[in-house]
Amino acid sequence: MPTLVSHPDEVKVISRRFGQGAADIDRYLELDGYKAVQKAIAEGPDWIINVMKASGLRGRGGAGFPTGLKWSFVPKQSEKPKYVLVNGDESEPGTCKDHVIFLHDPHAIVEGTMIAGLAIGAKMGFIYLRGEYRYLLKIVEKAVADAYAKGFLGKNIFGSGIDFDIVTQSGAGAYEVGEESALMESLEGKRGVPRIKPPFPAVVGLYGGPTVINNAETIASVPHILLMGGEEYAKIGSERNGGTRLFGISGHVERPGVYELPMGYNLKKAIYDVAGGIKDGKKLKAVVPGGSSCPVLLPEEIDVGLDFDQMGKAGTMLGSGGIVVLDETVSIVEFALRTISFYQHESCGWCIPCREGTDWIKKTMTRIYNGGGNKKDAANIQYLAENMMGRTFCPLGDAAAMPTLGFIKKFRKEFEEYIEGNKAGTPIITVQQLVGAH
């Protein structure tokens, strides 16, 4: 069971109800539950969208698209039914924030889904959890059932004359399904292969109807924003990056955990103060700042604010908010190999640059790792990764290429020395293990 952590620098908005038994509907109601949705009904769709726009909330899945704007793209009139789809297929390595929301505050997801539905005029919402999260699915299923039992869901919600239904859905293991169009395919009972865009889901989505797809953390933020006001929420964060975010700090830190920090909070402080610094007094070697697909940062690059824009300027991404910390003992060659092995394993094979690119990068890195690398290998890896960038149907190709480029550029010397037989770091994976699962 995930342990809850806390730190004085935290600003608890989404995590306000964590550890307070809010999975129970009566307790949730005591803690201001289902007030935001009633306010949303009273004020109407335009008001909701305006509050969301004012809040500066940007998609917490990783892309950082402004939520209010996304909702405003859904056509008001539509012949086909509209849908809300909540993406709880959390599977970016290094990321476990939605896990904690589902566990501690499932009704915030239910309520947020209803509000998104009211905003776009949908009558149905889906909450999709990765298949591995069965115990969390049960918690969310119970929350939905309890909301129905109280009459909050179903026909004529809160006497508004509006009907709204929620269906929970389980995945069955596939990283790729976290991509929004692949997620829709999966929900339609198909292989989770991405769709070509345009058309965008806001116009043609689930079952051909206009669909809003939001990350679980984004949706869980919505009720809080409506209650506190968009401007108030925006003020907590940094410029153009409203509010707070759940950051999961893992790897070589003293106090790993999921912490809620204001957007723009300093990454160095997050690692050294909030998470207690590097484990066992070791030195920092590198930070993968937002899940495994984000380009690595060097120790001298981490004095930077954790928001979408500042991280972009630093040459990386805020991503999923999963900060992975590597101490001096880590072999970057090995870490990069483990990272690409994951993407190679998860590539759906639909498009060639991703399927072949991940495979060849993995093969080349494996050769280096096993001591058989040749001089041109580092340049070759870079060439392969550069040629994947922007050339694949869905973001998986980029997700594999970006970290690879980060490692190969920033640790070029370590790769070259490794090839020459001078291996930095303490290896963890044996050659035998490498041929195992991936």
Partner: protein, 169 residues
């Protein structure tokens, strides 16, 4: 009442499936969860499971197999009663995930995707299971176990062996 005569599933699961197909605008949407729930009951996705699900959703068996082969949690061969899934992805790797995996291999005497002779345990190396901040982590069936040490793993495995482990389904 099941709409299928001679269902291979227990009456509860059959009734659950009858209900599941009514939830969606399109029946086929029930396919992925249905395959997983069927696997929970039967132990794997057998030919009979494929046939009945195809019939329930008005699909060809080929359509069902096409989807089945995509999802990593679905299997077409039996696993152990307790499937031990050890994460070795980045956050777990940094906190000893490979050591935990090796320990399980020795303790159970099996490798990746193998089953013990008595059919009680199977082992799998898996990708990130969303427990990175509590690494290293593993799942036994659907239950999470985190902040693992080799000692803790021994205790967990013995608890399951004695039939006293939790088993969320």
């Amino acid at each position: 009442m099941s709409t299928i005569t001679n269902s291979i599933f227990t009456p509860e699961t059959a009734a659950r499936f009858d209900h599941l197909v009514t939830l969606y605008p399109v029946k086929r949407s029930a396919l992925v969860p249905m395959l997983l729930y069927a696997q929970d009951e039967v132990g794997y996705v057998s030919d009979a499971v494929v046939a009945e699900i195809a019939q329930r959703l008005d699909l060809l068996e080929l359509d069902v197999r096409n989807v089945l082969s995509y999802y990593s949690m679905l299997r077409t061969k039996p696993a152990g009663r307790y499937n031990v899934q050890v994460c070795t992805n980045i956050s777990c790797m940094l906190r000893g995930g490979y050591e935990i995996l090796d320990h399980c291999k020795h303790k159970l005497g099996i490798g990746h995707k193998e089953v013990t002779a008595d059919g009680v345990f199977s082992l799998e190396e898996v990708e990130c299971i969303g427990a990175c901040c509590w690494a290293p982590a593993m799942q036994v069936n659907y239950d999470f176990h985190d902040n693992l040490t080799t000692v803790k793993v021994d205790e967990i495995i013995e608890t399951y062996r004695a039939g006293k482990g939790k088993d969320v389904k």
